[in-house]
Structures are given as C-alpha cells and as structure tokens.
Symmetry: C2
Subunit: 350 residues, 2 copies
C-alpha cells in the first residue's frame, strides 16, 4: 500500500517536472517570437504623456461633437465596451454610409508598427485625424473641429493644461496627440502575458497546445511581437486566394498606399489580442466565426488544411490573448455655447 | 476710530441679518413650489432596485447591440457626457432618419410624473421599450432583443442575478426594468438643492433674484416640483402661439395620445434641471439660446415681455439647476457568440 502510494506520488512528481520542463521550453520558444505587454504606458514619439493629456484625450475620444452630425465619436466604431471595435462587418457612418473596411480594435493599438489595415498612418496621432475627416465616417473638417473646441472654454482650459508650453494649444495636431495619449493607456494584460512572464498555470493545456501549433504551423511568422500582428505586411492569399466574399477584388489593400504592384492585396497582419471579442474578421469583416477565420488563414496563408482539433487548440490559445479591459470613467463633456457650430447630418457629395 | 469701527461692524451685521431673513423668506416660498432631490435613489413601482439590476441596466443602456444596426444605444440620444441628451434639434436614428421631437434628458427623469414630451409612458420602464422599437430610432424588435441577450451567457447570468426569483428572467419587461433601475441612479444634486436644504450661499444674489422672478412671474406655475417641470400638461402657446418654426403645426403633442381636442399642442412642461447643458430647446429643438427660450416662454405662456435683465436673472437661476453629474464606469459588455443576431442597417418600410 505504502509502496503503491509512493509510486503514485513519484509518477505525479515526474509528470509535474516534465510538465514544468515542457512549459519552460514552450515559453522560451514563445519569447523568441512574442513579447509580453509592458507594465507601464509606452512612451510615444514626440508626445509626452501626462494625466492632463490622457483626460483631454478621453473627452475627445467620447465626444460625438467631433463629428459633423453629432452622432459619432471615436468610441462609436472603437467601442471600449465591446473589444475596442464595433462588431460590424464595416462601420456605418455619416449619412448611413458604409465604411470600406472592418473597424480595427483600439485596444493595444499603440503597439502596432503602423495604423489602419494598410498601415497608411505611422502612429495613433496620425490615425486619429483620419476618421474625423472621412466623408463616410465623421465627415468633419479640422477647421470645424477647432471651431467646436474653441467655442467651449472648458476645452480651451484642458488644452492649455495638456500643452502648457504652447501659446496657442488648440490645434488639430494637439487634438490628435491627446487622443493618442489616451489610447496609449488602453492596454489589456492577458493570461498569455502571465505565461510569458513565468506563470506556467496561466494557460490551460489546450491553450499551450494551441500556442505550440501557432508557432509550429507558421502562424507566428506574420502574427508575432507584442500584439501577435500589427508589425508587418503580407499578401492576403499568399498560397491560395480566399473567395471574393472574404477578399473583395476592388480593395487592393496596401497597393492603394504605395501604388506598387507587389503590394496588391497586401495588408498589415491583424493584431490578435482580444480577437475573440472582435468578430467579424478580416478587413472585409465577412467571417463571423473565429474557427472559420483560423481555417481560412491555414489554407490561404500557410497552404495547410488544419484539422478540427488543431483549429480548436489554436482558438483556445487565441482566447488566452483576451485581457483585462481598462476601467474608464465616462467623461463629462463641456456644454456647447452660443458659438459652437451646430450639428448637421447633411451629406455633402465629395 | 473704535466708534467708527463699531458702527461699521454694526451695519454689516444688520445687512447680514436682513440678507439672512430675505434668503429665509425666499426659501420658504420656494419650498412651497419645489422640492430638493432626495439623498437616496427613489423607490420604483414594482421594481426593487439592487446593485445587480443597476449594473445590468447600465450594460443595456450602453449596449449598441440593442439596436438593429448595432449603431445606437440608449446613450446615443441620452448621452451621460452631454447632459443626458444629444445636443441636436431632433435625433438622428436608424437609416439616418430624423426623430420627430427633441431628445429629453435622462438625468433625474425618474422624478417626472410621466415620460416623453407627451407623457405617453407612465414610467421609465415603459419609456425604455419605445425607442428600441421605433423605426426611426433603434428599429429593433422585442424578439430580436431577447435573441441577442440570450445568445450571450454573461447577459443570461446578469438577468438571473437581477431577477433571482424568476424562472425565465430574460424578458423584454425585465430588460426595461433593469434600464429603469440604472436610470433611477442618474441624479444630479445642484446648488439649488443646497439652497433649498438651507445653504444661503449656494445661490448668488443674481440667482436668488432669478428664483424670485421665476416664482413671481408665474414660470413656477408649470415648472415646479423636484424637476421644475415634468409633472403637468399645458398648451404650448397658452397666451400667444410662438412661430411655426418653434411650434410646428403638424405635431399636436398630447392630442396624439388622448385624441381629445383640448390636448391640441399640449405638452408636458419640460423639466428644467441641467437645462443649460441641454440645448437646443422645446420639443421642436429649434431654439439654441436659453435666453431666447426664456423670452419665448414669457410671451407664449405668460403674456409677459420679460426685460433683458429679467431674462438674465432667470437664466442665472436656471444655471443653479445644473448639478453634479453621476460618475459612471463605462461597462464592459459581453462578447457576441455564434448565435447572436447579426446587425443590419437595412431600412425596412413600415
């Protein structure tokens, strides 16, 4: 009896040791491809982050008066309550027009090398200027944004506090910088970070198997770094083009930025943090099921027909990328004044 | 010197006493017409308020998936960052359609005797069912709302925790009750409450003068109670009809509810808390300037041409009705699942 018991305990210990060794090896391999989120808000290029700037950026991010109609704020399409995106194939904007591509999550976006599906904005400040002006999104102009901000003394004070060394701080550049500062705080530490940081038990066995497959099958060749994506450009359909529903022929991706033939149907590898919160998938937003999306990636990018159990394991691993959402107190915005430009839903042809 | 000093001190004391007596008389008069906000969340009819229900209601209030398109949440038109309304003449809704009337504030709305401009909903729970189904607003159906909620296990758990005695708690009635419970917490104590509660210094001299005028001129005949309005129905244009821009002939107000000739152009007296945060004014939303709105009320309802200084004083008093906004942590909403109904921006003709 006691022999049996010792034997059994011995087996458990050996298994535990093996498991520890396996986890350690898996982590070593993973750390060659991925990095955990930092514990502090990252420094930004030429944009010192202060609490004043974060607070101003938060107000701007949630203020629907930054759109011509008064209907849309940044948070409309990058909703912090639903994974930092809007859960639609492509967003609905000014005049009920549809945007051309699926809205990407704002969460952890500061760690992407460039912004938008085609990487046409170098950073979040440059990105923030886009949707505000896009006719199918917020349909506003920089002049009207500044007139709106200048009409409210509270906004003027907030800009002064955020950019204390500037004589005339209410500028469209500073508008974008404040939003960037707020967005840089939107970081979601996940079980995968805990695993990378040394906690063997942060991932389930299935998630560890999925992580192994994610690296072995080649997913991590494109989806790597802090965000498991967001750092490089790759043709969608590298091995085999997916159907026209998933890859519409008229959206040539990065070609529209570089006008280089090689960039036809090239897109920035999607960052994968919180991916199970941000259906539907791909730039076209046509795939609702993460399992289907993973299978499509297998055939189109890797030339591999992933088995169902493999897909299950990878999807389980992707679940470990969903992190703790930032706690955000809803901002109280300044009231309009007599000089605030009035909202207009009018659709002006381009 | 010491005589002079005593004399001066004596004068101040007499003045202070007079001022205290005046403030006390003003307060006594005011307390006959108005009431301060209570210090606790009010009890609701057949809807016990629990923290679980408030939290569920908050999630529902902010969830754009309660609309058919996924674009609009309750907060879209009753934005807690901008005075509990949307700062538009009339709201823009599903399919970029315009609503018929100005969006009223949700703040302190629990103290209104009935909801909507025409009082067609008895309480906030009944009100909450309206915009969700209105074709020009959220364009959803109760069935689709329930299918959406039932598709997300987290919502099912929240409903169970909020309605623990019910076998099948995910119902459209409970959806509305949870929203009502959250909205009942949206109370904004203001300087006017502090004055009613005994603080002479809570109002400036001009605000006190404005309060006096507000009562003497007759404004308080309709705008009284906790919300200075929201409790009775009155013809707009009692003495003199305002122009057709402000009172469009095709909107007959409460007549549309009661079909009684006497109710033509009858509306619920607008509640006035936070009124300086909620331009534009009137059910038509056509007046942006609070001073103009006050002057129109003078001529149309009281037959009085208020002087500019009188308007200034009354507007100053109305400013004392703007209170401390509730601090709301933005909710993290459940992620969709495979069975969540997909958003559709399609406009279905009635």
């Amino acid at each position: 009896m006691s022999l049996l018991r010792n034997f059994a305990l011995g087996t458990v210990s050996v298994m535990a040791l093996t498991s520890v060794a396996q986890a350690s090896e898996l982590r070593d391999n993973a750390l060659e491809m991925f990095a955990a989120l930092p514990s502090t808000v990252p420094a930004l290029n030429e944009n010192v982050i202060t609490q004043e700037k974060i607070d101003l950026g938060k107000a701007l991010f949630f203020d629907p008066r930054m759109s011509a109609s008064g209907v849309f704020s940044c948070n409309s399409c990058h909703n912090l309550g639903t994974g930092g995106d809007d859960n639609m194939p492509t967003s609905i904007g000014h005049g009920w027009q549809k945007g051309p591509r699926n809205s990407p999550t704002v969460l952890n976006a500061v760690f992407n090398e460039a912004q938008f599906w085609d990487g046409r904005a170098a950073d979040l400040a440059e990105q923030a200027k886009g949707p505000v002006q896009a006719g199918v999104e917020m349909a506003n102009t920089p002049d009207n944004v500044l007139a709106t901000l200048n009409s409210m003394p509270q906004y003027q004070d907030w800009f002064k506090a955020s950019f204390p060394d500037e004589a005339d701080p209410v500028t469209f550049d500073n508008f974008a910088k404040a939003i960037e500062a707020f967005e840089a705080t939107l970081i979601t530490p996940a079980p995968f970070d805990a695993f990378l940081n040394g906690d063997d038990n942060a991932l389930t066995d299935q998630q560890k198997a999925g992580l192994g497959l994610f690296m072995d099958k080649g997913c991590a060749s494109c989806h790597n770094g802090v965000n498991l994506g967001g750092t490089g450009y790759f043709p969608f359909g590298l091995i085999e083009k997916p159907g026209a529903d998933v890859l519409p022929p008229d959206d040539k991706g990065r070609f529209q930025v570089t006008a280089t033939a090689d960039d036809s149907y090239v897109f920035r590898a999607a960052p994968l943090r919180n991916i199970d919160q941000t259906a539907p998938y791909f730039h076209s937003g046509k795939v609702w099921d993460l399992r289907v999306a993973v299978a499509i990636m297998g055939t189109s990018q890797l030339g591999t027909e992933l088995t169902e159990p493999e897909v299950d394991d990878i999807v389980a691993f992707l679940g470990a990328l969903s992190g703790k959402m930032p706690e955000v107190t809803y901002p109280i915005l300044p009231a309009e004044t007599a000089t605030t430009p009035r909202p207009t839903g009018e659709v002006v042809p381009n």
